[in-house]
Symmetry: C2
């Protein structure tokens, strides 16, 4: 199973085991979800839903992830 | 019914009728969802889930919304 695909949302733990390494063009993205760190998970997590329905975890510390989020907000 | 609360996610149209005007402290936020504009809705939409479970629409063009997203990403 692809570790960068998050499990069911209801499970109260970190949802991302690993993160997707290659850049994803904003045009492929349906929505982006930023999960605040908390008791359930000490990491901030970024889960992207692609237009084809797949969900992929991204690394919030990577610059290109921040650039994508900025680009979506600017539209 | 509070217009800044989004309807069920599955409905394919804009989810935010209006947006919450006052600043929400990041500490109250569980997660932030950025919905890309598309055929279903011409606006970029920002839906915040608070730690108390409420969902609130924010205006992606407001500076404080961008600042909150940046703050969450920096943690």
């Amino acid at each position: 199973e692809d570790a960068s695909v998050p499990p069911k949302e209801s499970e109260l733990r970190c949802q991302c085991i690993s993160t997707h390494a290659t850049i994803i063009p904003p045009s492929k993205i349906q929505d982006v979800r930023l999960m605040q760190s908390g008791p359930h998970c000490s990491n901030v997590e970024v889960i992207v839903t692609l237009k084809d329905g797949r969900q992929i975890c991204l690394d919030p510390t990577r610059n290109w992830v921040k650039v994508i989020i900025k680009a979506i907000l600017k539209k």
